[in-house]
């Protein structure tokens, strides 16, 4: 018998209760014991609900009950989650969480405490919802030196970008639609400004390299500046715009960024639409592997949480070692990173404008669309980010160019 307590009866928490009930028989068979829900912690009351008899408002009930083997933290946010999780681990209880903020900020510290107490701190659901990615990174891709991770890690922004592309909607309209359908929060900042993706790529990079990536040091751009005009050019190039969490080794440094990118038709991430997530990992021996699935949602996320509960129960008294040092990884400044760029400019005269651009960049590929006769787009060779900034400034100052309208990094 493994007794569990769930902290927070919101979307994920109620999903966990539902999954445990729906698949009870096979879950218990795989856990090799019966999983029993002993407590749900929530400040609210749920009169008449199935969890009424296990509801508590006091975390001490859970912490001090030595029958509770596994604490499931699905409240979100740093506090009180951090204090609760720390206390549980110190008390010899394993913790399963879906809380990306908590994991990104305190992951290595909590892993250390878990190790000291022969219990486990598991967080499969913190990245990619139901997609198995944390366990494969820790246990399957171990023969490789990973040199690149690219992920569509936020379903809300991917839904908005898909709508902009497929239906020609403007950003604001697509966002409003996502909000109306419940795919975006009323306060969408964390998604559309890239903060959510930022925490997730920090977790994945930390696990891939074994050092701690401080998410506050990751260069982060959202999708709020992407316009319908950008989409028109993307379509003309047969490309798609996706918000990527991206981590790439350049020499012995690592370039980490959250950025919207144009990606080519044959790129494995190109086919990932709507609220789906996908993570592409490149290793020096395995080559490219990709993991795809529902990146959020009540049941997919609960599926990952419950898989962790099963794992925690199977590893009672045995710590599963995760290599994630508290030592901070030094990141390459974004200005030293190298990208290809798509740049769109408004010109006075096409011929003269082109000449200025060709003088600034050694080699470009032109992109023109009927819908935008006064502008021209071009794709650059691979250039250092710091240099592109200088070159864009040069163009902006040129008399032949009215304005540099947009710059999006690009990968085929």
């Amino acid at each position: 018998m493994a007794k569990i307590a769930i902290l927070g009866y919101g979307t994920v928490g109620s999903g966990v209760v539902e999954v445990l009930k729906t698949n009870q028989i096979s879950i218990n068979r795989r856990a090799e014991t019966d999983i029993e829900l002993k407590y749900v912690l929530d400040l609210r009351e749920f009169p008449g609900s199935s969890i009424e008899h296990v509801l508590t408002h006091d975390y001490m009930d859970i912490l001090q009950d030595d029958e509770v083997d596994i604490v499931v933290e699905v409240m979100g946010g740093i506090e009180p989650a951090y204090t609760f999780v720390k206390q549980a681990l110190e008390r010899g209880k394993s913790v399963v969480t879906s809380n990306k903020e908590l994991v990104a900020k305190h992951g290595p510290h909590l892993l250390e405490i878990a190790k000291e107490h022969y219990v486990n701190f598991l967080f499969e659901a913190s990245v990619g919802g139901g997609i198995p990615i944390i366990r494969p990174l820790n246990q399957s891709l171990t023969a490789d030196e990973i040199y690149e991770i690219e992920g569509i890690l936020n379903g809300t922004t991917n839904y908005i970008l898909s709508k902009m592309k497929d239906e020609g909607l403007d950003f604001d309209v697509a966002l409003k639609e996502a909000q109306d359908l419940g795919f975006a929060e009323r306060n969408p900042e964390s998604d559309i400004e890239g903060h959510d993706t930022c925490r997730k790529i920090a977790i994945l990079s930390s696990l891939a390299f074994g050092w701690h990536v401080d998410y506050e040091n990751i260069y982060t751009e959202g999708i709020t500046k992407i316009t319908q005009k950008d989409m028109v050019y993307a379509k003309a190039m047969g490309m798609d715009i996706k918000l990527l969490g991206r981590c790439k080794k350049e020499g012995d440094q690592v370039c980490l960024a959250v950025i919207p990118m144009l990606i080519g038709a044959n790129h494995p991430l190109n086919n990932v639409h709507g609220v789906f997530n996908a993570i592409l990992i490149k290793g020096n021996v395995i080559g490219d592997v990709m993991f795809y699935g529902a990146g959020a949602g009540k049941l997919p996320t609960a599926s990952a949480v419950v898989a962790d509960i099963i794992d925690a129960s199977k590893h009672k008294g045995k710590n599963i070692i995760v290599q994630w040092s508290m030592k901070k990884m030094k990141l390459m400044p974004i200005t030293d990173g190298h990208f290809n760029y798509f740049i769109r400019v408004k010109l006075h005269q096409e011929k003269e404008g082109r000449a200025v651009i060709e003088k600034t960049f050694s080699h470009v590929e032109w992109v023109q669309v009927e819908e935008d006769p006064n502008s021209i787009g071009f794709i650059t060779d691979t250039i250092r980010e710091g240099d592109i900034t200088i070159n864009i400034e040069k163009l902006s100052k040129s008399e032949e160019i009215i304005a540099v309208e947009s710059m999006i990094r690009l990968e085929r």
Copy 2:
């Protein structure tokens, strides 16, 4: 220190040696011990090669050496692999293998022996090359009841089909090209007749359901009957033809088959081209998840083998439980399975021919292509396989129809 012996110095075996050397430092860090290659078993000599000093021709050297913790079987075929693996497990050595035939045939028995001796029998590389799929099935998708698996599990056939579609090549020409490039064997039967896919889907289904799927009971069609004309119609429908290993629950029965299928543009497997593999898994709570990567090749396969070596070394003396009973799973006869079908017929007169087809099938979608003016294609509703056979026979006997030229199952 974990000492290993590799049985077979072919493509995969030499790949394992290469990976262990290339990523030695990170591999040892993740294994939490030094992995040392003590023997390579091969009947051949390799004078001057790096493995010369560890080469043996006698398996007894390995079996009787109690320093050897892990035996890596990468010879392929049933014998002597089966005997060697069995002896190693009984002697208390863990075994890692890439041998799909061995796993499909003797998997549950060898897992049982491993369990009895507190060692492990690991086979991540037996399906999907480098793609992590065995471990995710066993350890990550545990909260779910899986109800469908669809996999592009054979890179050779996927390469041939991609070439036929993209370059308009006939099957024979595409096969010849694959052979010339080393993507297909001189004797390609196991790939193109679907036998390789058959063993792999048997392994995946066994793990998903916990019962033993006997691959000899799986309905298996290859791709040898797929013609360029089929590809023309596929393109007209915006679809693609892929050889799938497919396992689907229908009620409380399971329909297993290896069949070429037409799949729609938005199907997650549609974007898997060339020698890449992908496995789509559907669970009752997680929804759809897909795993994608290089399904074969020296280094990707070796990457999976080495990840298993690391896992075996970390679990010394502890058996990782895998649920795969020796009890055989009863499969639904293919005639009871349900599919949508694309059928192509040659007609005397279009109007009369259509009338016969419309009388035979309650509802069809017509597909016509300029390149094939005397024939017509149509997509049926979902129909029982047994009934489609009867209906096709009816059409064949009709005076209005010259011939039923092809039948391919279809999924959007």
